[in-house]
Symmetry: C2
């Protein structure tokens, strides 16, 4: 296996847009290709993530159309992958494998989603299709419900009283919105307060509106190449140090949903491959689809002791100047969460952080970063460790 | 790159069923694993093809659930791919790459589809989402329309009068239904006649009912391993000699749809990798979603001269005892076409043919076989060459 590095990255602004899936994807993809000092014809394969193109635009089989849209020729294999909210991270992992193996030298991985035309009720229903259709979705278990249950379970397990936990969760939202104010591509770029979170409408007990990430449109793309080529073509290639992907069945197969088994497996693979431990990581983009999701992920990835994730967030440990900065981009919570693109958007942020290009939200001296992307109710988790 | 071989294969009977997606997939997957003399725990990664799980069963993010259903653990990456009717062939190619690269030794590739609950109008509408949503589907271009247009274009280009061409196409249907009578897993197992085809209801001019493959439920699965492991574990491993995948945008990007550019690219890659020519192939499973589709594929893959595909079929060249047997399984036309499973079902047939296990439909002495799987209106094509 040879060394693999990221060359250029690209990303659209997240949030409702008039652009369609092809236009969104092309904007991010062309930015990534140009940032790699390449022409589209240099791309040898494409992996693209998209979850809801069929329901949003009546578009399945999207990979060939996206490849054509950016000028890739008929010999370039273009493949759509889907694993709910982890979709683009899965695509990135495929691109990594194909380059690491030596089959291809330069591969484009990206993701795109557009849900704004669907509206909240249909989008909520559609997202719920990422749970088990026979045992979960069937009972009306939407994602706010999944993470609402998780919140109660977490509070019960670690004996954190709900008012305390909700305040800690609100601090996660406040932090991520604050980070979003410094990210020109974020969907939300305004500060919020704990009071605003706790006074926001109830979505699914105990989760309130500001505990939840938004529905988003957007795209992100990453050019993956052999480290040898990347060193020649760009000034700051970012190496892929470790990567992992885990799987799981439905909630009934989780012994303890506060410690998701697919994440334990995935993160374990990534740390092992990189030869690193959580203490080596300087900056993290992780899957904060809900505020409680950030707390459990920060624990499971090893950055914070179990049961202490809320307190760590409330104490400032996970802020940009803190011990382990989490979601400096604003995270899914404020940057936005176009589900088919999120995995590559997280990589986009880590690459920019490791290159020192993040301006006011820059994590000083970040040399090693990690992403964490969760699909469904932990049906899939992908973790990626990058270094410069 | 190391040698890769197929160990066990599995397939359900095709056609309407009361089983759900998980049950269907498990039936094929467990058969493939048992035929490989393995336990599920030996599977190191899963690629699964499924196209319409969201519309049929409200199930996205299906890979983790399918992995769990057959007993794979949380460390096994499970990935869904989708490229319309070529979906399972794309998944097989991924499995091949991962094993060839040495990342994994034993990978399961499979596909599953269930459309019977949708009914013909919704299924036709849903399938049309594999065309370009902005320029094709938008105008009402369903797949019978795409291939109806192709029929007219073909007749015009090669100056084959429509009544002659329709009779040749009917012969393709008669041949494939005849082959299907010898395949216990085929959806249709009864003979038809040219008269029956030509008197069947018009679907989309000039395509009549028996020019069209059916909507089908079903699943197929293939265990892919290093040739070294395969030789130890099964008596007749089938080697992957060549593989290719091509892409294209919409119909407007096809210079001449009778010679699909994604197929030219894909087949070229597969022949080149195998170091073989069309004359070396003993048996073929190709994408006869409509009778005209078999004719153009037989030409583009190099088995028949351009413009002579219809005459070759009518003359018996493509029958089981003919010069180049095409679709001995019955093809999509009679075996059935569960779109997410078809690519692996074609591999299933070629593996059985090369092992001499096909009973009355056996192609005598077949040593090298080829598959051809088409997604959308040629947005993706995958070709695989196998040998024993």
């Amino acid at each position: 296996m040879r060394e693999v590095a990221i060359m250029g990255v690209g990303m659209t602004k997240f949030g409702p847009t008039g652009l369609n899936l092809k236009e969104l994807f092309a904007e991010a993809a062309i930015e990534a290709i140009e940032a790699s000092n390449l022409e589209p014809k240099a791309i040898q394969a494409l992996f693209v993530g998209n979850v809801l193109g069929d329901l949003a635009e009546g578009q399945m089989n999207i990979a060939g159309f996206l490849a054509d849209e950016i000028g890739l020729g008929p010999s370039v294999p273009a493949t759509r992958v889907e694993g709910a909210c982890a979709t683009a991270a899965i695509g990135f992992r495929e691109a990594f494998m194909w380059v690491a193996s030596g089959f291809y030298d330069v591969v484009l991985a990206g993701g795109v989603e557009k849900v704004s035309p669907m509206g909240t009720p249909l989008a909520t229903r559609a997202f719920a299709m990422a749970t088990d259709s026979h045992y979960e979705e069937f009972c009306g278990l939407t994602f706010p419900a999944v993470f609402g249950l998780l919140t109660h379970l977490y509070g019960h397990k670690y004996r954190v009283p709900l008012p305390t936990l909700k305040e800690q969760m609100a601090m996660v939202a406040v932090k991520n919105h604050h980070n979003g104010t410094m990210n020109p591509l974020a969907q939300f770029q305004s500060e919020i307060t704990i009071e605003k979170v706790l006074q926001s409408p109830m979505v699914c007990d105990p989760l309130q509106l500001y505990d939840c990430c938004p529905f988003s449109d957007g795209a992100a793309a990453v050019v993956v190449a052999s480290a040898e080529i990347a060193r020649k073509m760009v000034s700051k290639p970012v190496k892929v140090l470790g990567i992992g992907q885990g799987s799981a069945g439905g909630l009934s197969r989780q012994k303890d949903f506060t410690v998701m088994r697919s994440r334990v497996a995935s993160a374990g693979q990534a740390y092992k491959m990189a030869g690193l431990t959580p203490g080596d990581i300087d900056v993290v983009e992780l899957h904060d689809c809900f505020t409680i999701a950030e707390i459990v992920a920060s624990e499971c990835l090893g950055f914070v002791d179990y049961g202490k994730g809320g307190a760590a967030a409330a104490g400032g440990d996970t802020g940009i100047g803190g011990r382990i900065p989490i979601n400096p981009s604003g995270g899914l919570k404020a940057k936005g969460h176009p589900i088919g693109a999120t995995g590559c958007a997280q990589i986009h942020e880590i690459v920019k952080q490791l290159r020192g290009e993040c301006g006011p939200r820059q994590v000083d001296g970040a040399r090693i970063g990690m992403t964490d992307t969760l699909g469904g109710d932990a049906g899939v988790v992908v973790n990626i460790i990058l270094g410069i």
